[in-house]
Every structure is written in structure tokens, then in C-alpha cells.
Symmetry: C2
Subunit: 310 residues, 2 copies
């Protein structure tokens, strides 16, 4: 019996200012989309990729979604084939965890087709194998919030230790995605291998503050803690109009604003939908002034991770 | 009318492994003690200092306790004199926040004599002025937990932003104080001005984990997060038998163990008094094996800061 499902996996904002490589949260929109069909013929095939300007490989060893599937199947063999249609909605190099979302969609979808035999903690590892193709290293700060939803802390990478944080109920997120591409690997190379001790201290003070604020629903503390001494000073230079867009967000009432992942997307947090929409208009206007096309989203924090439609 | 009060201020464990310069907690014991007397004759005098091997200056501009008082008085002048007797109970350079406790005792005591006109947030700044004498820089990770009690995060130093964390109810702390002195300034010079980015990431992952564990009463997570990539690798070399003492603590059931402040004191956290006492015996035995005299304490987390006896 052939089955077809559609999997939607949420965009994610990693780093959240201070939590470079260790924190992220999921958004209700945008979402990446994969259509997955079972087939009698064994093996995995990518039938179609849309929305990517032809950059995403059909080679199943080189594609984040199918690489994650291969990792799943190696652990838990299946006796049918799979056909995928990958519909990229965010574009590559957005800073919104597009490749992570595709990897998560794939393993989450297959697990669903099999009756959910494996726990998310296991799916995470397969999705990370896929994500590794895109970023050349293990980074869980998009994959984990995409899979679990909500706010996530990756306490440790070795061994992997994922901490699910509460979701402050009033938060809304505005995201602007200037239509330029930043490669994660290039954004990472900018950073160098060391940080000043005093900047590192400031950074972990802010990580502590952000997590305290999340547990206490203290929006002022969350806002005060969304600062970055490590990546933003370098990466913001790759985003035309960054300072003006950020300033516009704060002036319109955002509690915190910073680069999403390695950019160019920029996120801003607000404590009401109304403010988040005002912030959206202001960020859009600032971005228009530097003549960069952009997409803009206003979203609640995603609570549940991927969504499946049969 | 002459009055005399005795102020007890708690020892504090700063850094807590991962939270270098930004975290600390207070202990019920040991405590520093100051006797404070009003006098008709204006001015501040140190009448006696005990327990210090003659190292602590009587010059009121050079003494952390009286320097803190001068800072208080400059903000809020008084029309009487003060005589102090400073009884050091921990010894200098212990890593237990001895100088911070003396500075806190002084300003807390004077504020009490005046009918508590000033809030702790103000007293903190005066105590920091005193503590600066001892450490040549503003470090609040002993002063703040000593003054407020409990677990404290210093989110930011500029401006100062103190976050009071919850106190997980089952925690007991074992502290061993090998009777050698480590100067904070020397311990700090060991560290250098930069850290590897990957170590910094590990560190702020652990800060996030420790704070999450504290909010959730998750003792396993608290234990997993008490690790240090920044100070311990260097400073542990100054403490004879450190590795053996730490190993003895874990083997006896401690959830976490690390250097207290800049050492040589070593703290271990346990989730029952019984375990904390077992840990104490094991740490003491390991310390005896390297022939270093030591003092050992088993204590709950202090909840209230200084205590005044009239």
C-alpha cells in the first residue's frame, strides 16, 4: 500500500544573540516542506527539488534530507523504498536553519510512516548526520529546536545533552530575511579560534541571564541578555543595513534583536503580536532603505516541532 | 548611646565550575565576623584584627571592610564614630570570599545601626568598593551571594545586573580548605587574556545547564554542568593533591566538585547531608595523603546573607 505524507518543519533561530552554538528556538513560520512517498521499489530517490536555484544535490549521499534518512535506515532497516519531493521555502544560507529543517523533516516523516518506533532523542542524531553535510560539523542549535519545538539549550556536544527550556507565553518573533546568501562556513571563518576572556565572561553572563529570564518569564531580563560579543561584531558586516534594521526594531518596541544563526536573517523578540507587527514594518522599511529585497515573518514560538499531513 | 553589634557574613563559593566571574553561592558556614561599636568620637577606627597573621592593614583606606564603610558614608554621612574588631575565620587567600565577607559585614552592619535606610542593591556597590582593594578589580561573584544569600548570577558588570536564582532544596556543600594561600591576583594571572572559542562554547553551554538545573531542581543536570575549561586546568596545578581530592569527592557520591573561587578551597555538592559528610571524609583523607593540613566544612546553602547579633 502506497502512502504519501507531507512534513512541515519549522524555521529556527539559533544563537539567540548570546548563546552561540548552544541555543535556539523554533518558529511557527516559515516552514520547510517535504513530500514523502513509499514505493515498492527499494532505495531512496529524490524526485524533485523546488525553491533552491538548483544548488541542492540530488545525490542522496550529499543531500542533508536523504543523508539523514540513510543514517536512520542504517540503524533501523526498512523493507520499502522512499521517494522525496523537497520544497525549499526559505532559500539556502538564510540563517533560519533551512538545511536542518529538511533533515528533521526526513527522519521525522520516516519515523511516522513506521509508526513512531524511535524517540526524538534518536531522531536527533540521524538529523545531525544530515545537517553535517551542510555545515561540515555537528551543530545542533537548529536541528534540536526544529525537532523538539520551543527553546533549546545544547549543554554539551560530547556527549550530546539537550535541555528543553520553557516557552515564555507572550513572546512573538519578527524575522526579516534579506534576500542575500551567507554561507555558514564563511560566516564561521570570520570568527577566528579564540575570544577575549573578558568577552567570553560577558557572553556566559548573558547566557545565564537569558536562561533565567526564560524560566521566570522575565521579558526585560530576556531582552537585556540578547547581546553578542562573539559573532555579531563580525557577521553583522555581511548584512547591509544591519545596524539600522536593528535600531528600527528596538525603536519600535522589540525587547531583543540580533542575527539569526549565521545570517543574513535578523530576528527580533516582542511581547505582543501588535508590537511584533510594528517591529516588522520598521525592520522592513529600514531594509528597503538599503535596497535589499526581503521577506518578513511574524510568528509565535513553535511548541511542537514538525507537523505531518497525510 | 553606645551600641555594639556582631555581624556574621557567610563564606561564598564563586565560579561554581563553569560560571567564571559570574556565579556564586553562599554557605551557612564558615562565616567571617566583625564586631562594630558606635562611638561619640567621629571617624572609623580598627581596634583589633584577629586570625590573619598580621597581613590585613589597619589603614582604613587599605582595609576592605573600612574602605566599604567609607564608601557608604560618602553616600550617606553619619554623625557618630565607629570602632571595628575584625575576626578573620577563614584566613586570607582561601577562595571562600573572605575579603568580600568582611566588606559585606561592614556595610550591612552600619546600615543596620542606622535602621536599614538603604537597600541591598546599594550596599552591594559599597561592598564592591571595599572588595576592590583585595582583588584590584570589581568582582561581584563573592560579594553578591554573601550579601543576598543563595545562588547568584551576575549577568553584567556594566551596568551591574544581579540575578537571584532559586535554591535547590536538597543541596549540601562540602568544602575543604587546604591550609595554603593562593593570591587571587596570581591565580588570575595564570589565565591569560584569551580562551579558545570551542572552550568558551563548552563553558557557556555549562552555564546554561547549571542555571537550568537550578531552576528545575535537576541535580543530575547541576552535576553535569559543574565543569570548567577556563580556570581549573591552570589553577588546579596550584593545589597539591587536587585531582585525588576531586576524584575522592565524586567516588563518595558528590554530584559536582571544583575549585572554590581562585582556590585553594575545593567545594563539592551533594544531595543529602549524609552524602556530604561521606564526601567530607573522603576529601579529607585524600588531602591528608599529600600531607597538607586542612579545614573541612559541611553546610547547607545559606539563604539569608549576613546575620546580626546585638
Amino acid at each position: 500500500m502506497k502512502r504519501e505524507i507531507k512534513i512541515y518543519s519549522p524555521a529556527t533561530v539559533s544563537n539567540i544573540g548570546c548563546g552561540f552554538d548552544v541555543m535556539g528556538f523554533a518558529l511557527d513560520e516559515p516552514c520547510e516542506e517535504i513530500i514523502m512517498r513509499t514505493s515498492a521499489e527499494p532505495g531512496i530517490k529524490i524526485k524533485k527539488i523546488t525553491g533552491d536555484n538548483g544548488e541542492i544535490p540530488y545525490d542522496i549521499e550529499q543531500n542533508t534530507a536523504t543523508k539523514a534518512l540513510l543514517s536512520y535506515i542504517q540503524f533501523n532497516p526498512i523493507n520499502f523504498g522512499l521517494e522525496l519531493e523537497i520544497n525549499k521555502k526559505m532559500g539556502l544560507g538564510s540563517g533560519l536553519g533551512s538545511s536542518a529543517a529538511s533533515a528533521v523533516s526526513a527522519v521525522y516523516g520516516l519515523n511516522y510512516l513506521l509508526g513512531n518506533p524511535l524517540h526524538n532523542d534518536k531522531l536527533l542524531l540521524f538529523a545531525l548526520d544530515g545537517e553535517k553535510i551542510a555545515s561540515n560539523a555537528i551543530h545542533a542549535d537548529n536541528v534540536a529546536p526544529c525537532l523538539y519545538g520551543g527553546f533549546i539549550l545544547i549543554r554539551s556536544y560530547d556527549p550530546i545533552d539537550i535541555i528543553k527550556l520553557p516557552i515564555p507565553p507572550d513572546l512573538y518573533c519578527t524575522v526579516i530575511h534579506p534576500q542575500i546568501e551567507i554561507k555558514t562556513s564563511e560566516a564561521r571563518a570570520l570568527l577566528g579560534n579564540t575570544v577575549k576572556l573578558k568577552d567570553a565572561i560577558t557572553q556566559w553572563g548573558n547566557v545565564g541571564g537569558l536562561i533565567s529570564g526564560i524560566y521566570q518569564n522575565d521579558y526585560s531580563l530576556i531582552g537585556r541578555s540578547i547581546k553578542d560579543k562573539v559573532a555579531e561584531p563580525h557577521r553583522s558586516k555581511l548584512i547591509p543595513g544591519y545596524d539600522q534594521i536593528k535600531e528600527a526594531a528596538y525603536e519600535s518596541g522589540a525587547i531583543g534583536c540580533n542575527i539569526s544563526g549565521s545570517g543574513p536573517a535578523i530576528f527580533a523578540l516582542s511581547v505582543s503580536k501588535e508590537t511584533a507587527e510594528k517591529v516588522a514594518s520598521a525592520m522592513e522599511e529600514a531594509c528597503n532603505q538599503v535596497n535589499i529585497e526581503n521577506k518578513i515573518y511574524v510568528s509565535k514560538i513553535n511548541k511542537n516541532g514538525p507537523l505531518i499531513v497525510e
